[in-house]
């Protein structure tokens, strides 16, 4: 029974077979949303539902970060009154949600993606343009390059 490897082992020892990039979905404007279309390269590695669930949760988290509501307006008005110096002192709502997103991605990687030889990269490291999924070589099934 092969042991599933931790994320650390994955990064250090595996060879990369391919990278898949999930692009942004602009149908609702410039809000940060990613396409939920299942890429064909992942068909052999992961369940379509699982993947869509991950992307949908990410989209919901980003929507929460950019939500226009009472809290963001309050933050904005307070910032305006203090000549925006408040941004130097407190952590904005957006930054708090980004931390939540980073934790969620870490968790998904540990539980679901790393055991399948995949690695999700936090979109913030790619300028919120793409969700990069690294597909590692899988010796056991003989797939890969």
């Amino acid at each position: 029974m092969a042991e599933t490897h931790s994320l650390q082992d994955l990064r250090q020892q595996a060879a990369i077979a391919a990278k898949v990039f999930i692009q942004r979905d602009y149908t609702n404007g410039t809000v940060c949303q990613f396409q939920t279309k299942f890429p064909s390269e992942l068909e052999t590695r992961i369940d379509k539902q699982q993947f869509e669930e991950t992307v949908r949760t990410l989209n919901n988290l980003y929507a929460e970060a950019e939500k226009l509501g009472g809290q963001s307006y309050l933050e904005g008005c307070l910032a305006c009154l203090t000549a925006y110096t408040i941004f130097l002192c407190i952590e904005t709502h957006y930054e708090k949600v980004l931390k939540k997103i980073a934790k969620y991605i870490q968790e998904q990687n540990d539980k679901i993606y790393a055991p399948r030889g995949l690695l999700l990269t936090d979109p913030i490291e790619r300028g919120l343009r793409v969700v990069e999924i690294t597909i590692f070589e899988d010796r056991s099934t003989g797939s890969g390059r």
Binding site: A14, R24, E132
Partner: protein
Amino acid sequence: MKNCEYHQIDPQTLSTPNPTPPPPPCAERTITRAKRKWEAFPGRNRFCCDGRIIFARQSGVLPLTLGLILVTSTLFFIFDCPFLVEHLTSCIPVIGGVLFVFVVISLLQTSFTDPGILPRAGLDEAADIERQIDNSGSSSYRPPPRTKEILIRQQVVKLKYCFTCKMFRPPRTSHCSLCDNCVERFDHHCPWVGNCVGKRNYRFFYSFIVSLSFLTAFIFGCVTTHLVMRSQGGNGVIFALQESPARYPFSHCQLELVVCFFSVWSILGLSGFHTYLVASNLTTNEDIKGSWSGKSGSEGSGNPYSYNNIFTNCCVVLCGPMPPSLIDRRGFLPPDDAVPAPPLAEIEQPPLEAKSDINMGPGHLSPAPL
């Protein structure tokens, strides 16, 4: 759901496609300190305080802007305030002080904040996009299309490919040739402020021009009041204007009046223009190009980003959530043997090309069976 069995791969037995250089000896690694990402930034920007402060390479006339504001305000506080405090009210320097502080802080924040720069695409991402473009091109005689049409709220918007940043520009993003960066929600590059005005610093820019209009109007009003009151005291306006300490060639009043007179009209006009832009959720770039209005032949081309409500538009643009900086200036560049390559480092540092993932290239990305 097939559970893939994952085996540990021994690096010694792996046949790499090209020889990777041996990892540098430990002694060498401890000598070279870890570099921060701002040191490898590909755009034309300058950084201060170890990456905390960013501004454009050409600071434009920012020193002039700061100088004019400082000089005029200082003259106001030194010469006009004492007189007006004595004859009118002591609120005058307080109001002037608050406005002055607001103006300077907004100006510095506009100049030194990342306007919404998009980091350039990494090699893998760029290769993936190129592959998609090539796949969509029909014949080999025409160059592949470098625009992508998408639907935003039922309206067709064309996304252009940026050759410098190697990606399709998101909507409302434009490439600034002065800073050599793609900036999100690009408004314009302001030489007075010495930086681009984009998504992240538009609210600072707006509060700068609005508070500056108030300040210049206030100083103009106070100086005029001062002159009028002095002239009533005795010998007329001309004498009051000419009155100056012996060592200065120009009267402080003359200088303040001239600066404020010209500033008031231009700054007020600019504030009015930007208030209109904010209320209709437009950028200067879109307004100048006429992207959403009066395009011949296009039907229903309203602004797809507007909420069709002035109040909502204002709230969204000025009080919306503050997006984070995407360029992570103070993050560390990963060492050579790390696996996922950061987008910025690859462009500047040749040794990273030895990494196996980059050399995989598009040729090695075999299409998965459909």
